[in-house]
């Protein structure tokens, strides 16, 4: 059957995924170790504090980070024409984490133009990782799919080792902070840190989504995209920088949470087709919903204490990666 026109498909997919996001957010806000009586939310100071200082920020953090990782995952897959690319497998998250951990260890609490230095360091780390991976995998015009993923994995390993070293050398207080987000945590108190992130993320999201059509054409074929009027070099640099920014900020606050950027865009593809103008905004919405739910699960699955959300996404995403790898063998990459 021939797919319905794009406009219809776009409206339908966005409506379904937005609804899913709203429902997941509501569910995640409702459940938690400590029950909240929503009828008394405004009257009872305890409930109010619990909800507005802890529960709501935590859920919003999941939404923001999940949406960021999935959006960049979809964009990186198109950019490198590689269905297995994502911030994690390309080493971008690792690079961001290394930058952030250096900043934490060195006790940089300063801001540049209101932007926390940790974000700047994470952005630089992420940017460096992408550049290294690209330089190794790229031979002129061609980016070798296998080399891309291998170098991404190695950059991630090097980053992880470097983070461990930094953590070992840092003072105990910083070391604990580094450890906490290394496993990927969405712990946050109050709404202020989220506001800080959004200041950078919202422009980044909008700018990246604006490249949807160019990325769609690039995903089909690079040469063809160029002859259809896409400025390939400029598009690639812009998407690199935007992904590094978004992942850097996400990694600096949420640590490295694996595989969200890999599996969410594929789920959107399976539901609504390959068009990047649907896959990118769709991944944004579904990524938010997915991480919010994964985190709700992480918060409540153990009888006491909570599981890091990175463990849940890793346990779901790892097998999904292997499944894609197997399916990819039937993809013809000439």
């Amino acid at each position: 059957m021939i797919a319905p026109p794009l406009r219809l498909q776009l409206v339908k997919s966005m409506a379904i995924l937005a609804l899913l996001l709203v429902v997941s957010t509501a569910v995640a806000l409702a459940i938690g170790r400590q029950p909240i009586e929503f009828s008394k939310l405004l009257a009872d100071p305890f409930s109010r504090t619990l909800f507005f200082r802890l529960r709501l920020p935590r859920v919003l953090m999941g939404l923001v980070i999940g949406a960021s990782l999935a959006l960049t995952g979809g964009a990186l897959q198109a950019l490198f024409r590689n269905p297995l690319a994502d911030p994690y497998t390309l080493g971008v998250s690792g690079g961001g984490a290394l930058g952030a951990s250096l900043a934490i260890a060195l006790g940089w609490s300063a801001r540049i133009l209101g932007v926390p230095l940790v974000f700047v360091a994470a952005f630089c780390g992420a940017m460096l990782a992408v550049s290294v991976v690209r330089a190794i995998a790229g031979t002129g015009a061609l980016v070798l799919p296998g080399a891309l993923l291998l170098s991404g994995v190695v950059v991630n390993l090097i980053s992880a080792a470097a983070v461990l070293t930094v953590q070992y050398l840092a003072d105990p207080n910083s070391a604990l902070r580094i450890l906490r987000w290394m496993v990927g945590s969405l712990d946050v108190v109050g709404l202020q840190p989220i506001g800080q992130m959004l200041l950078l993320l919202v422009p980044g999201w909008i700018a990246l989504l604006a490249f949807s059509r160019q990325l769609h054409l690039l995903a089909i074929d690079e040469d063809t995209a160029a002859t259809l009027g896409v400025n390939v070099a400029r598009c690639e640099s812009a998407v690199h920088a935007l992904c590094s920014l978004i992942i850097g900020v996400a990694a600096a606050t949420g640590g490295s949470i694996g595989f969200v950027g890999l599996i969410v865009p594929h789920a959107v593809r399976m539901m609504f087709g390959e068009d990047l103008r649907i896959v990118l905004p769709g991944s944004f919405l579904l990524g938010g919903a997915f991480l919010v739910l994964a985190d709700a699960l992480a918060r409540t699955i153990l009888p006491s204490g909570e599981l890091p959300v990175g463990a849940i996404t890793g346990l779901l995403g790892g097998p999904a990666f292997l499944w894609l790898l197997r399916r990819r063998q039937s993809y013809a990459v000439l």
């Binding site: 797919a3 026109p5 024409r81 590689n82 059509r213 040469d223 259809l228 390959e274």
Partner: protein, 259 residues
């Protein structure tokens, strides 16, 4: 008549420094079929990629409607020139129709989506290459030849005035090869399409093309009407093969290798 498209003294230098192509000049007029022939490594693909604007010439210039190629706004240029690469990788299972629809990009606004009219034209392009039945197939599941037809339909959906083809017939069987040539001839007659096509099929060039450009070692060894270029002496020189023979039979030229 002033040609639609002109290349003047083109040269291309590899990043390593060697010249791949030197001093190539050619003109392409509306409603014409031009074949580029030559041995492997003679610079055919480099030349056509320069003409498509994918490679920047080291010297010389390319004019479209009398205006240098780089002065054209990319989107406007894409309405005039379409390019079909030798082989396309397919990393994602896009539907064939989606691939063809991407050819409509230069004709849709920067922030608008392809509409019903674009879909009709895309389907029409698929039909014109005899590949309408592939519309909802994933390009990753197509054979090399089928994918070539889809990519050709994408280039036709672009509705260009000039079509640059890099060995489109390479993985096509006899039937599809004939279909391809019929399509190109029809577009030349009805739409005034100008085609520049790299091919190794000399037999094909003898009867259907208006002009042949033969490259040797990155230079034009011969160019002109098929009956002038398809001569035993010229072909022996172009391919460095002393035993190649060509003979005019009616409106056709037979080319063969003498054992």
């Amino acid at each position: 008549m002033k040609p639609l498209f002109e290349a003047e003294h083109l040269a291309y230098r590899y990043p390593q420094g060697a010249l791949a192509v030197r001093d190539i000049s050619l003109g392409v007029s509306t409603a014409s079929l031009t074949a580029i022939i030559g041995a492997n490594g003679s610079g055919k693909s480099t030349l056509i990629r320069m003409l498509a604007g994918l490679l920047r010439p080291a010297s010389g210039r390319i004019l479209l409607d009398g205006t240098p190629l780089e002065k054209w706004q990319p989107r406007m240029r894409a309405r005039e020139i379409a390019y079909m690469p030798q082989a396309t990788a397919a990393a994602f299972p896009f539907h064939a129709l989606d691939v063809v629809l991407s050819g409509r990009t230069p004709h849709t606004g920067a922030w608008s989506l392809e509409g019903a009219g674009d879909r009709e034209r895309a389907m029409g392009a698929l039909e014109s290459v005899g590949a309408a039945h592939l519309a909802d197939r994933a390009v990753t599941s197509l054979s090399g030849g089928e994918r070539q037809m889809v990519v050709l339909a994408r280039a036709l959906a672009q509705e260009p005035r000039l079509l640059l083809l890099d060995e489109p017939a390479a993985s096509l069987d006899l039937n599809h090869r004939a279909g391809l040539m019929r399509t190109l001839v029809r577009f030349r007659e009805r739409r005034g399409l100008a085609v520049v096509m790299i091919t190794h099929d000399l037999q094909l060039t003898g009867s259907l093309f208006d002009r042949i450009v033969a490259l040797r070692g990155g230079e034009v060894a011969a160019q002109g009407r098929p009956e002038d270029v398809l001569q035993s002496a010229v072909l022996s020189d172009v391919f460095g093969e002393p035993n190649v023979r060509a003979q005019r039979v009616g409106s056709q030229t037979l080319v063969w290798i003498e054992a």
